[in-house]
């Protein structure tokens, strides 16, 4: 069996899938996203990448060693998803010489307005409660998204989602447990949890906004319209909030715009830090 074929057999839902496998598929032409799918993969990759960058900051700063490990693990999972999505997206945006852009080309050499992540993912870590609030929203959203994407007509998207959904299920559990603990712990922790949810909730609406791209992809069966995830998201997050005796925050929604490259003030700083070394040495390999 050739190396390319061996890899092709691994890219099936349920099998472990590494970014390197996708890179090989892309190089050999076995995985070739449509222009729409590539743009979509870029969105999901950017979401996961920016969140990984945010979460990574907690490593060595968490409230307890166990949380250094847990938040580090979630960051690593997100980074793994980002690498897969971006590698796949790169096949849809070739360089001038026709070769696919790599995950690193996309992560390190795009400018701020070229990033397609929604604004929730770039929100500051804040205190531990704010980080948990963000993670709570993200993981319930990503779970519903990836669960449905395992049925995508695009085999690579389906395979990435099949791996990711299992991991995100743990992220859901981790964040829900902490919402309960912080809401039901001390007065101080309850106050902080409520505050954390209120600071993140303005960015929830953007997650479920449809646009022309997602409508076309939904019609083709390659993706689902984000609006269709909302009912399950609302129901499942409400269950946790009810148990925690918390209300869904009543705060105005922010206009968003991350999918069109309109970001909050925070993204520029994230990228400046993330990209600085790679940009000092263009063309170098590491």
């Amino acid at each position: 069996m050739s190396e390319a074929n061996a890899s092709a057999t691994r890219i099936t839902p349920g099998n472990a899938l590494r970014p390197e496998d996708i890179a090989l598929e892309v190089r050999t032409g076995l995985a070739k996203p449509t222009e729409d799918v590539a743009e979509y993969a870029l969105r999901l990759g950017d979401d996961a990448l920016i969140l990984a960058q945010r979460l990574g900051h907690w490593i060595s700063r968490a409230p307890e060693l166990e949380e250094d490990i847990a938040l580090g693990n979630i960051a690593l999972d997100q980074l793994g998803h980002a690498r897969s999505f971006l590698t796949y997206a790169g096949a849809g945006v070739p360089n001038q010489d026709g070769t696919a852009k790599t995950e690193d080309d996309l992560a390190y050499f795009r400018r701020e307005h070229e990033f397609r992540s929604v604004q929730l993912f770039e929100q500051p870590n804040g205190d531990f409660a704010a980080t948990i609030a963000r993670q709570f929203v993200v993981s319930y959203y990503q779970y519903e998204l990836y669960r449905r994407l395992t049925e995508s007509t695009d085999a690579t998207l389906a395979a990435i989602a099949a791996k990711a959904v299992k991991e995100v299920d743990y992220h859901r559990d981790h964040s829900a447990q902490w919402v309960l603990r912080l809401a039901g712990g001390t007065d101080e922790s309850r106050k902080r949890m409520i505050h954390g949810l209120r600071t993140m909730w303005p960015y929830v609406a953007e997650l479920f906004r449809d646009d022309e791209l997602t409508e076309r992809l939904a019609q083709a069966g390659a993706a689902v319209a984000p609006s269709t995830l909302k009912e399950d998201f609302d129901r499942l997050t409400a269950e946790v909030l009810n148990e925690a005796e918390l209300e869904v925050p009543d705060v105005p929604a922010a206009p968003g715009g991350g999918r069109e490259g309109k970001h909050s003030e925070y993204l520029g700083y994230i990228l400046a830090e993330m990209q600085v070394l790679a940009r000092e040495h263009p063309g170098a390999s590491w």
């Binding site: 970014p19 990448l49 990984a52 960058q53 990574g56 900051h57 490593i59 060595s60 700063r61 968490a62 409230p63 307890e64 060693l65 166990e66 949380e67 250094d68 490990i69 580090g72 693990n73 960051a75 690593l76 980074l79 793994g80 980002a82 690498r83 971006l86 995950e103 690193d104 992560a107 390190y108 205190d127 531990f128 309960l180 603990r181 912080l182 039901g184 712990g185 001390t186 101080e188 922790s189 902080r192 830090e273 993330m274 600085v276 070394l277 790679a278 040495h281 063309g283 170098a284 390999s285 590491w286």
Partner: protein
């Protein structure tokens, strides 16, 4: 959390019981087998181990910082993933080691308090700054490499929980060392600027790594007793010499050099020798006057203090849950 873990501390014993315990302990050490938490052990043995294991745990935790410094700026996503996983491993090592130390009768909270109060020591190597990306390579290759030389013999340490923790730690450390070597290799065969960055990092980390083995044998008062107790198996100088012998070969593959023109194999003693080390600097850093001592402790203190309300919330929630359960059982 700590209270139920402290049962291994023996209650007051009669002199007869102490004598029987000492005889049992001596026999186990003579047979080169293992002391377990509930076994009788001399107070000095317990104290020595508690100091060593907790210092080792602190070193893992403080050692996360210089590498965490580069997670956000890692120059490729693959390197970022590897580095995150590595720093996470170190948190895991800290956890096993604190657990091993707890079996000697001290709570993790107390050990953490001592660390933050500046009463406990950790490996002074982590008081040096990680200035460039190449430091991720040099730390992995030299610092983790020296740690492995130190720790492989500790897998046979006479205290069971410590030896067993070391087995797992060493497996992960050898991955860490390989990834450090790989970072340097890639840099060394990369652009001129990358190669320079790699050589500069090796130059800065070489001597501090050699000093990780501790002071020369004639200036290491505790070593003899530790060896008699089968905690330590080889002397500081013996381990240092072995390490130099390994590095001198590996650095050739890297296409770099060691900043030491006096490295040579002594045919008479059959040992590797190296140039003089600046032990004054070592003692200065150990005394708290190193480049990053204040920064490292402050970062740990800040994480601990900022997280206090979270730990209190978790404890309060657990207490409420357990009270609720007891009420349900009673009903």
């Amino acid at each position: 959390m700590a209270a139920q873990n402290l049962q291994s501390v023996p209650a007051e014993l009669t002199p007869e019981e102490d004598a029987a315990g000492q005889a049992h302990f001596d026999r186990i050490i003579a047979e080169d087998s293992r002391i377990e938490p509930r076994d009788w052990m001399p107070a000095a043995y317990r104290k020595t181990l508690l100091r060593q294991v907790s210092q080792h745990a602190h070193s893992e935790i403080i050692g996360m910082q210089p590498e965490a410094n580069w997670i956000s700026r890692a120059p490729s996503l693959k390197r970022k993933a590897i580095l995150m996983a590595k720093v996470q491993d170190e948190a895991g090592h800290g956890l096993y080691l604190y657990s091993a130390a707890e079996t000697l009768g001290q709570s993790r909270d107390k050990m953490m308090d001592d660390l933050i109060a500046g009463k406990a020591r950790y490996s002074s190597i982590f008081n040096y700054p990680a200035r460039t990306w190449a430091d991720m390579g040099a730390i992995g290759w030299l610092v983790d490499g020296a740690a492995i030389c130190n720790q492989v013999p500790l897998c046979r340490a006479s205290y069971g929980p410590y030896g067993r923790a070391m087995v797992r730690v060493c497996k992960e450390e050898s991955f860490h060392q390989r990834q450090g070597f790989e970072i340097l290799l890639e840099l060394s065969y990369g652009t001129e600027a990358q190669k320079q960055m790699a050589q500069d990092a090796v130059n800065r980390w070489y001597a501090p790594a050699l000093m990780m083995f501790g002071p020369p044998d004639d200036d290491s008062p505790n070593s003899k007793q530790s060896m008699a107790w089968n905690i330590k198996r080889f002397s500081n100088d013996e381990l240092r010499s072995r390490f130099v012998g390994m590095m001198v070969e590996q650095v050739k593959v890297l296409g770099l050099t060691l900043p030491d023109d006096q490295v040579r194999f002594n045919e008479d003693t059959k040992k590797w020798e190296h140039g003089p080390l600046d032990w004054d600097e070592f003692h200065e850093v150990l005394a708290g006057r190193g480049p990053c001592n204040a920064q490292r402790l402050e970062r740990r203190r800040a994480a601990h203090d900022d997280g206090a309300w979270v730990r209190e919330a978790a404890a309060a929630y657990a207490a409420k849950q357990s009270a609720k359960q007891q009420k349900e059982y009673a009903a």
